[in-house]
């Protein structure tokens, strides 16, 4: 790989051991990819937290050791200086205020807080959400980023027109210290053109339908670039957030175009920009039903746990849930957790939305989600969620059965303790 003089200096250790180890990882990674060079980035979203039981042993050696091993793939423990790129923390495993509700040991919560002091002192912003774009990190079209979190990556590329590959814990750790990332994949304009045309034959409008469409497409298209055409209505941040998260769970979609809506596709022609259409995908009633059936693996209609907010809810979604719960009580057999970024929780508290949800018997959670933390209310066997992503991962990770449906279906399940949702 070709390095600039400054990059060579970093690689050779002129600017310290941490940058040398970071460059070593970036070069190994870039060569594995077949990248010719690195590109400058000043927008990194990564996973720097130390909140899982498996890092307990490593934490005893100090947070420099944690960062060296887990964020730089370096067996040499190096002293970590301040980050040089703007950097934020994505979702973590522990809610810093509600860890006991999650069933997490006090010492692990303490470990996360200590870790955050260390990472914060090096300039890593503790957004602690899978949706940095909901709390102020909104990259500009064309901006080179180094983001993790598949649902955020697909949003960053497709909706914002900024450029990132799906980075990992180690590459973002190295990028934050060097402001560099391999110039490969979605950083290169011609790799961002559409590959598959999707004909949407049924009306796609509500959040649930955007989730189903994404879940179906991911499985068919894997990591190619779909161009949506047909009968969808104007989407919003919330709907595209769910669509992308679903497509990045069943498959590896990192980029899509919606002509006249997303920034790199004013028209269908521009979406493909001369690329041959490699495949056509039809999406009708049968495909919608297939996605629904693949997501709903539960048979028992008694619901133990309702999870809302994957990806993390916007404040408008918190309001919708609060409104649906207003003056009602959640079933004694069911728990409800509503997830939103910490910064938006502040607004929910101020607006009284949190009180509406807690008065009904629910919890408003931040910083984490059940799939990441692997924690749900004790004894949960059946979960209901409005998130295709959570319905995809929770059964695999924790062995629970899942119902997937609309926000309204999920709130009704919380109140009645029974699943009565279905396809309309």
């Amino acid at each position: 790989m070709k390095l600039t003089d400054y990059e060579k200096e970093m690689y050779d250790g002129v600017h310290g051991r941490a940058k040398a180890r970071a460059m070593d990882l970036l070069v190994r990674y870039g060569e594995a990819l077949g990248a010719e060079r690195l590109v400058e980035t000043n927008n990194v979203a990564g996973a720097f937290n130390a909140s899982t039981p498996s890092v307990r042993e490593l934490v005893k050696k100090g947070f420099d050791a944690v960062y060296s091993e887990l964020n730089l793939d370096s067996t040499e423990v190096v002293e970590i200086p301040k980050m040089v790129a703007h950097t934020c923390q994505l979702i973590t495993g522990i809610d810093n205020a509600n860890w006991r509700v999650q069933g997490i040991a006090d010492d692990l919560a303490e470990q996360q807080k200590k870790g955050e002091q260390y990472f914060g002192s090096r300039g890593i912003n503790m957004f602690a959400t899978c949706t940095p774009y909901q709390v102020g990190n909104v990259p500009v079209k064309g901006e080179h980023c180094a983001w993790m979190e598949s649902s955020a990556v697909v949003y960053c590329n497709s909706v914002l027109g900024a450029r990132t590959n799906t980075e990992g814990k180690e590459s973002t750790g190295a990028a934050a210290l060097t402001a560099r990332i391999p110039y490969w994949g979605y950083h290169i304009k011609e790799n961002r053109r559409g590959t598959h045309k999707v004909d949407i034959e049924i009306e796609v409008d509500d959040i649930m339908d955007w989730g189903l469409l994404g879940y179906y497409l991911g499985e068919i298209i894997d990591d190619e670039i779909p161009v949506l055409t047909g009968k969808y209505r104007q989407p919003s941040l919330i709907k595209l957030k769910h669509f992308g998260a679903a497509a990045a769970s069943s498959g590896g979609v990192e980029m899509y175009h919606i002509p006249d809506i997303t920034p790199e596709a004013r028209t269908i022609e521009e979406a493909f920009s001369g690329n041959a259409v490699r495949g056509m995908v039809r999406y009708g009633e049968a495909e919608r039903r297939t996605a629904y059936e693949n997501l709903n693996c539960a048979t028992d209609r008694n619901v133990d746990f309702v999870m809302l907010g994957c990806p993390h809810n916007s404040i408008d979604q918190v309001w919708l849930i609060a409104s649906l719960l207003d003056g009602r009580k959640i079933s004694a057999n069911t728990q409800l957790w509503v997830h939103t970024p910490r910064a938006l929780r502040e607004v929910a508290d101020r607006n009284g939305y949190t009180k509406m949800i807690t008065d009904a018997g629910g919890f408003v959670m931040s910083d984490t989600c059940p799939a990441i933390s692997r924690h749900m209310p004790k004894g949960t066997k059946v979960v209901a969620t409005d998130s295709a992503k959570q319905a995809h991962y929770l059964p695999a990770i924790t062995g629970v059965a899942a119902w997937f449906g609309s926000v309204k279906d999920c709130v009704e399940a919380a109140v009645n303790g029974r699943w009565n949702g279905g396809l309309s």
Partner: protein, 148 residues
């Protein structure tokens, strides 16, 4: 049957490809046509596939040569394969078809020899149970077919 005829029945195939991570290792192949998720798709302590509708569900790639189409799903791919290494549950080598950032970084941090762009589709040539040597430094994969 004489030893000579038995030896003659051993089928060896040599394929060239591109190095992703250097080194040389050999072991029994575990082959899947399904792409693999890291976070949410594998158990990092046992090296087992846990995805609900995956053809390898419940099977472990620990100490085997993992032959698969590529990576999908969460960006936790590399972190989870990284942890399989720290937990001694990593594959001995990897062979895959489709290059992505997830699989590239995951292979790099697993520290196991890895190759891609083989001259023939490894999913067609290699079957679970075959003995496979991945000499990534020299860009060579040597397959000894299991007797069937």
């Amino acid at each position: 049957m004489s030893a000579d005829t038995a030896a003659a029945l051993v089928i060896r195939i040599v394929l060239r490809g591109r190095k992703v991570v250097g080194g040389c290792a050999e072991g029994e192949a575990i082959v899947t046509r399904d792409t693999i998720s890291g976070w949410g798709g594998i158990n990092e302590r046992e090296g087992t596939v846990i995805e609900r509708r995956h053809e390898l569900r419940g099977q472990s790639f620990k100490d085997k040569v993992l032959v698969f189409p590529g990576a999908k799903g969460s960006s936790g791919w590399s972190a989870y394969f990284h942890m399989t290494r720290l937990n001694n549950a990593a594959p001995r080598a990897m062979i895959f078809n489709k290059m992505t950032t997830k699989v590239a970084l995951g292979a790099v941090v697993t520290h196991a020899p890895a190759m891609t762009e083989l001259e023939q589709d490894p999913l067609q040539v290699i079957e679970t149970g075959d003995w496979v040597k991945v000499d990534a430094d020299n860009g060579i994969v040597e397959i000894t077919k299991r007797k069937r």
